[in-house]
Amino acid sequence: MRVDAQQRTRSRYSAVTLALLGCGLLLGLGGCATTGAPDDWLPPVMSAASDPFGAWIHVTCSEVSWPSREGEFIAVGADSIYVLRAHTLHAIPREKVTRARLAFFDPGQKAAGWSAAGALSTLSHGLVLVISLPFWLAGGLPIANLHTKEAIALHPEKDWPELRQYARFPQGPPLNIHRLQLRSKSIEERHPPKKPII
């Protein structure tokens, strides 16, 4: 079968379009396994070790009288967990919590960016990209999501004694501290949102 010049050009444009669409898809969806935290809350992984605040937590309760809460994870007590939001400390009975989701660092978009670059590189594969590009798309999205999930801890998959490490006070609620004394991260202490790589 003879492939004429027009068909070759169309194939080439199709290949480039495919690769660019693939990149856009990866970058757009690369963080679709989101942390749930506000954009500027979580520290990047390289500086998370010295961040003095707790992880971002979202708590779901079993009863209507205990609404869902989200905010900074403050401490794990003997029978309650403590969540700080807008300078208000909430104590939630542990037995009322059906699900909790903690995010303790910002995974960023490196994985998605890397996958996007890999998808772009399939342009060099010629028409073989019809085989290699799907691998990047099929593999890149789960890989980006995998990296995001490494910044997340879930309850009941992990119990509270294990999750306390992500609290502002992993040693437990400090004695002699009035709840009104606690404050949330200030604007200056928050981290600027990550810019897209491309």
Binding site: P52, F105, W114, S121, S124, L127, F135, Q171, G172, L182
Partner: protein, 525 residues
């Protein structure tokens, strides 16, 4: 600088950028550990890899220390950093000493590679390798005819490649492939047909053949398409090649193959394997079982031929009588490379060819059966059976040799597909096409069809074979057109013996990496 060179340069830059991202952008995760300073031994468990140590106090205060050290004698931690209160306001900063007894809990954080790094690296390396390899060895990024996957013990495996030699409409043919490792589960057999190459596949028919197996035996197919019921396979006793004893590689169909490298000066050079089996029972007809596939030699030569033909490839293939399939008496590339010849000694003690086996295609391993006529004059009673295989060096990869007693010829039960699915959706149109002998199903790169067959009762008692018919059209690669050379094309297709001597050095330069890189990139899944 030609357009071809410019594109190479641009693509190389893209690859370099990708590589820089690999080097510069590592993915890390944080691994946190809490340690309660119960006694001096617990201090030793603090992870010294942690660049920052946090010491949480009972009142909610927090020391954040860099360059920290532990003095076990004085039970003090030294470092540089800051002390924060429970509100996380800074109390003091600079060099600090922390009494361990005042600490409620220590926290260390170590950066580790992300779990995403490994698969991402694998994807990147494989993709980059493919990019580099395809740019430098365009004929190494191969394709294939339709490939068929069937359920086996370890999941779906590649079991057949259909009509590999049918590279033009005039060469349309049917192809029989024994599904040796097929393990049907239940009363239906799903066969996945894929187009995993830069080709157009034109598929006229894909039927399943069911052959009742004798108790303890097998059903095997010979080169003429006849089916033979046999007893159980008798193992190989000994096989000697130029490299020495290769018996252990050929006793089982286990993926461990015996193969040789092509000759340095003439790609058509033959080699011999001396094969020996235990004495077969007298008066009972035997047949030789050869489980094998081709190497990439013929595929390389075919693609080289297309490259030489360049823009004239299509009309040339239309006129071709045969290209890859060996035809007795015909001068062609396939005939020059030949099949695996099976030889026995005649009354004069000279070796003569009594049969041949082989099938075009480097992907799927095929099982061939060569019935043997062993007259008493050439088989002294009580003597082991000695055979010889004559084959082209570097052209075949053998997985198993065995002997089988022939019980009789048998006929298959033909089963057309009962359902066709594409992307998990029933495709009635494709089914109708495959059931109509006047129509053909055309597939393009990436297409994937699941053909479902209804099996007879007690499906485990049957041997299964795929009967596919059609042809396929190779897509001309842009890189190949740069090699257009009508003289060389004429030489390869009209004087293949001479061409195979001329191309030996070029092929030998690629041969060491050809198989490894192809399979490394071919099966990227």
């Amino acid at each position: 600088m030609t357009l071809y060179d410019k594109r190479h340069l641009a693509l190389s830059c893209l690859l370099l950028l990708t590589f820089m991202m690999i080097v510069g952008c590592t993915l890390k995760v944080q691994h946190r550990t809490l340690v309660e300073p119960v006694d001096y031994r617990s201090l030793a468990s603090l992870d010294s890899r942690s660049p920052v140590l946090k010491a949480h106090l009972s009142d909610g205060g927090l020391y954040i220390l860099n360059n920290w050290t532990v003095d076990e004698e004085t039970r003090t931690v030294h470092g540089t950093g800051a002390l924060l209160d429970a509100r996380r306001d800074t109390v003091t900063s600079g060099p600090l000493d922390v009494a361990v007894d005042s600490v409620a809990i220590f926290e260390s954080n170590v950066l580790q590679n992300s779990q995403a790094l490994a698969p991402l690296t694998v994807l990147t390396v494989a993709s980059a390798a493919l990019s580099v390899y395809c740019l430098t060895n365009p004929k190494a990024c191969f394709g294939s005819c339709p490939t068929f996957y069937v359920p086996a013990d370890s999941g779906a495996i590649l079991q057949a490649e259909g009509f590999s030699a049918s590279v033009a409409p005039a060469l349309e043919a049917n192809d029989l492939d024994l599904l040796l490792r097929c393990r049907p589960r239940g009363r239906t057999l799903p066969v996945t047909m894929t187009n995993e190459a830069l080709e157009t596949h034109v598929v006229r028919r894909v039927e399943l053949l069911a052959l009742k197996r004798p108790a303890g035996g097998r059903v095997l197919a010979d080169h003429a398409g006849r089916f033979w019921q046999t007893g159980p396979l008798q193992p190989l006793q000994r096989c000697l090649g130029a490299e020495g004893d290769c018996t252990t590689l050929l006793t089982e169909f286990d993926g461990r193959e015996r193969f040789s490298l092509a000759d340095d000066t003439d790609l058509a050079t033959r080699e011999f394997l001396e094969v020996e089996f235990a004495t077969p029972p007298p008066g009972v007809r035997q047949g030789l079982v050869i489980v094998s596939r081709q190497s990439l030699l013929s595929t390389y030569l075919f693609y080289q031929g297309l490259a030489y033909l360049g823009g004239h490839a299509a009309p040339a293939l239309v006129r071709a009588e045969q290209v890859l399939e060996p035809v007795p008496g015909q001068r062609s590339l396939g005939s020059t490379l030949g099949n695996i010849e099976v030889q026995i000694r005649n009354e004069a003690g000279l070796w003569r060819t009594v049969g041949a086996a082989g099938e075009t295609g480097p992907l799927a391993t095929n099982c061939h059966f060569v019935p043997l006529d062993l007259s008493p004059s050439v088989m002294p009673p009580g003597a082991p059976l000695q055979l010889r295989l004559r084959l082209t060096r570097g052209h075949w990869r053998l997985d198993q040799l065995a002997l089988a007693t022939i019980l009789g010829e048998t006929q298959p039960r033909r089963i057309p597909p009962s359902r066709v699915q594409r992307d998990d959706t029933v495709d009635e149109t494709a089914l109708a096409i495959l059931l109509d002998p006047e129509r053909c199903l055309t597939t393009l790169p990436g297409d994937r069809y699941e053909l479902v067959y209804d099996l007879p009762a007690c499906p485990q008692q049957y041997e299964y074979c795929l009967d596919s018919q059609g042809y396929y059209l190779e897509w001309m690669r842009e890189e190949w057109r740069a090699e257009e050379d009508p003289v060389q094309a004429a030489l390869l297709f009209l004087q293949p013996e001479l061409a195979l001597r001329q191309l030996a050095s070029a092929f030998k330069a690629l041969e060491p990496s050809l198989e490894t890189e192809f399979w490394g990139s071919r099966y990227a899944r």
